[in-house]
Every structure is written in structure tokens, then in C-alpha cells.
Amino acid sequence: VYADPHVAAFINDHFTPVRIHVRDQADDFKRLGDRFNAHWTPTILIIDPKGDERHRIEGFLPAADFLAQLTAGVAHAARARGDFANAERWYREVVEKFPETESAPEALYWAGVAKYKATNDSAALGETAAQFANRYQTSSWAKKASVWAKPAQTS
């Protein structure tokens, strides 16, 4: 997947890339694998500048799914540092660019959360629930967002 030029460009634009080989760097793999609870390959972690894990990808993914995960990871990292406007922007990019991936419904959910956090306007949550009425209805994220739905008018 790293041979994909879009994947490589995204990684080079957003991350300091570090690769630890399970056999060639056995001591490092043991030490860092224990630190981050990573005992399978491939495991890809997005780690913030403080050394805290912000996103995890376990197992191989095709390029589009992998890029969606990386983009979601950038969004998660932004959300964790309180940069909610940029977090929302990255989450929306996942939904728009990679709508068929498993990352998309999760990103749609968190985009609503990030918008709510940025604006303190709960309408963002209701809007998100409404968006799930039209897509990803069977996803767990739609179920999670369902509590934000406005009650149906009864009169």
C-alpha cells in the first residue's frame, strides 16, 4: 500500500514516518510493542507529539481504505488536541473522498461531534442524526447517532 503515490504523499505531508521491523529490530519491536500493545503486523499507529496513541490500524488494507483511516487518524489527533474545526474538516473529507469505506460512517459521526464541540450548538448533533437517515443506516454509528434525532412531530 505504501507504493501508492497518494498514500506516500499523504504520509509525507502529515507525519514523521517510523518503521520498526519485527525481526530486523527485534529489541525495538519488543520494547515498543509492549509500550503500545502492538503484537501483530502490520500494526500502524498514529502517535501525537506527546507520544500518545491517537489512532490504530491493524491488518492490511487497500489504498483507499488505508487513506481513509489515515485521514480519520489526522482528524482524531486534531480532536484530541481540541482543534475541533480542523477535526471536523478532516472527518468530512473522509466521508466525501472515501464514502464507501468503513471509516466513512464513523467519520460522519465524529464530524458531528467535532462541529458540536467547535460551536457548542447541539443542532450539529441533530443534523448528524438526520444525515444518518439517508446513508449508512445499518452501521453502528447510525445507531449511536440515533439518540440525537429530534422527536417526530406528533401534531
Binding site: Y2, A3, P5, A8, I11, N12, H14, F15, T16, P17, V18, R19, I20, H21, V22, R23, D24, Q25, D28, F29, L32, G33, F36, A38, W40, T41, P42, T43, I44, L45, I46, I47, D48, P49, K50, G51, R54, L70, G73, V74, A77
Partner: protein
């Protein structure tokens, strides 16, 4: 070679220090692929 597209580093601690200095996130890839 695919890896030539990405300037992988192999010293985590130094890379994390550099990432912190540059306020960048770090991508850590545990791999068994041939290098």
C-alpha cells in the same frame, strides 16, 4: 522500490523527539515485510 517513496526512519525515540519539536504526529508502522 515502494519504500523509496517514504523516508522511513527506524529510531523511534529520536523521531518522536523530532516530531515533538516540529509539532508533527508520528506514523509508527510495525512490519514484517522485507525491508
Amino acid at each position: 522500490m515502494a519504500d523509496e517513496l517514504i523516508p522511513w526512519r527506524h529510531d523511534f525515540d529520536t523521531a518522536l523527539s523530532d516530531a515533538a519539536a516540529g509539532n508533527r504526529d508520528l506514523l509508527l508502522d510495525f512490519t514484517a515485510a522485507p525491508m
